[in-house]
């Protein structure tokens, strides 16, 4: 049996949980699936109606607001009761927060950030990025007990999930540890001044820009194109551009008609925030940079030579 652990956000099912179901179906090859919904409620009913397998719900008020101690206790107890061969979940911030603790408690191997599966059943191996996406590793878990797998967001298709006749919800009762953590309500920082999601064109800079006073090179191109300026995380971490200009998993998700990536290597945390863009241009001195995997157009070279020439070319033609 393969156990999918669904994730709730403020009581509603995280869309990425469907992707985890898709991954589990691909791995199953005929094996039954079960879906665990810590917190239960409406999300459990929704999953049961989709008929992807038996739905297990742990209805406990302690699980409605995520805390790692209670989450680990609940999932570990359900694994002990149901003895799955594999446990699959989406590689969300929440899974990153507790899955390693769960794996350590069970002594189970954890294959994190999986982007693909080779084969199915017990012989399946998993593909995951390594070395900042410069390489892809094929990984095989081994050891006693179930293996835990987390799927990278967007790597498996939610709309490819095969649905069946509605299944039942089985409510499980498990003992929960008292949480050592207490949480305060989630909040957003001061309202974002820039909504990059609305931009038609974006010029984004990464480490390749090298110094804050060189961002002007990119700003001139953005002005010529009628584009917003954006950046990868390290640029905002350095304070070279404000945090609300950041594109990626911890910043904004954008899908403009044109995305120009200047000196951005293309770590996955950045790619997830922009790979839905219609046309992607990458300019980078490293021909092996992962950004070229998603680029429609690319120039391998020094951005400080190429970008001013592009700016001049656009300005020339618009006069």
């Amino acid at each position: 049996m393969i156990l999918v652990v669904a994730e709730l956000r403020a009581g509603t099912l995280n869309r990425a949980s469907w992707e985890a179901v898709g991954c589990a179906q691909q791995l199953a090859g005929g094996e039954p699936l079960a879906v665990l919904v810590p917190g239960g409620g409406e999300a459990a009913k929704q999953l049961a109606e989709a008929g992807v397998g038996e739905v297990l719900a742990v209805e406990d008020a302690a699980l409605t607001s995520y805390m790692p101690d209670t989450q680990v206790a609940a999932v570990a107890a359900v694994i002990a009761q149901t003895t799955p061969r594999l446990v699959v979940m989406a590689h969300t911030y929440q899974a990153r927060d507790y899955a390693p603790r769960l794996a350590a408690r069970l002594g189970a191997p954890l294959v994190a950030d999986v982007i693909g599966v080779k084969g199915s059943g017990a012989a399946a191996t998993f593909l995951r990025p390594m070395f900042q996406g410069k390489l892809v590793a094929e990984v095989a878990p081994h050891g006693e007990g179930p293996a835990i797998v987390t799927c990278q967001i967007g790597a498996f298709r939610a709309d490819a999930v095969v649905k069946g006749p509605a299944a039942a919800v089985r409510t499980l009762s498990v003992p929960l540890d008292a949480s050592r953590q207490t949480v305060e309500p989630p909040f957003q920082e001061a309202k974002q001044a820039v909504d990059l999601g609305q931009a038609e064109r974006i010029v984004a800079v990464g480490r390749g820009i090298k110094a804050q006073d060189q961002i002007v090179v990119a700003e001139r191109l953005a002005a010529a194109m009628g584009a917003e300026i954006a950046a990868s995380r390290p640029i905002c971490d350095n304070g070279w551009l404000p945090m609300d200009r950041q594109v990626g998993s911890s910043g904004q998700t954008v899908a403009p008609k044109l995305y120009v990536a200047l000196g951005i290597s293309g770590a996955i945390q950045h790619l997830v925030g922009m790979k839905g863009s219609r046309t992607i241009v990458a300019i980078n001195k490293d021909a092996d940079a992962p950004i070229f995997e998603v680029a429609d157009y690319g120039i391998v070279g020094d951005l400080f030579d190429i970008v001013p020439a592009m700016t001049a070319e656009i300005e020339k033609q618009s006069h």
Binding site: A112, R180, K257, D305
Partner: protein, 253 residues
Amino acid sequence: MKIAVCIKQVPTREWQPRLNDDRTWIREADASFEMNEPDAYALEEALRLREKHGGEVVVCSAGPARVQQVIREGLARGADRGIHVDDAGLGAADGFLVAQALAHAMRDEAFDLVLTGLQSDDQGHAQTGVALAELLGIPHSTIIMDVEVSDGRVRVKRELEGGWFQWVSMPTPALLAIQSGINQLRYATLKGIMAAKKKEIRAVAPPAGLSAGLRIVGLALPSKSKQTALIAGPPAEAAAELVRRLREEARVL
């Protein structure tokens, strides 16, 4: 306050992938190594907490002899002493294995806080810190953007997805996986580098009987999801050609 910082040594960002003969690991002889950048933010946070609350910062690293370089660098930036779990096999080990090696060396130290980076720039499992918290039997929190310590408790600002945050409180001892960008990094001064030479690095053997939970069957360059039109030529010509194609082919300008 007694603070541990776990630091990994990883290939530099400029490193170009070269694989060993059976394509299961990199050719280490061709790589140069540096401090894992996410861990540098954890070290900086530890040094700031020591400046505020007093105490001691201990840099811990597991790996072959080469990792002493990053321990030494941590000492040069201001850490007080180092612990090196010395084993040639730990350089390519998975996160849980490294966590077990570190836990063995750190358990008796009774640290008040253990700080780690969010993930390593090499294997990127993002597991070592959280697994270490479980092995040490202490609470943890990850993706931390602010740390407040008072009276045996720690209150941290945890990053959620999409620009949301949440404050989380827990008793110490605790483990915190620090988000990159939480602070501005300091670099070693000449004085710091000189002082580091006299600081202690305690070597510890890993516990017996560790076995890997993950096996790398093979490493390969990623396959492309898109056919990229690569435009060659001198910069000015390539730039002009790119602009032409963005106008006429892609129609986005």
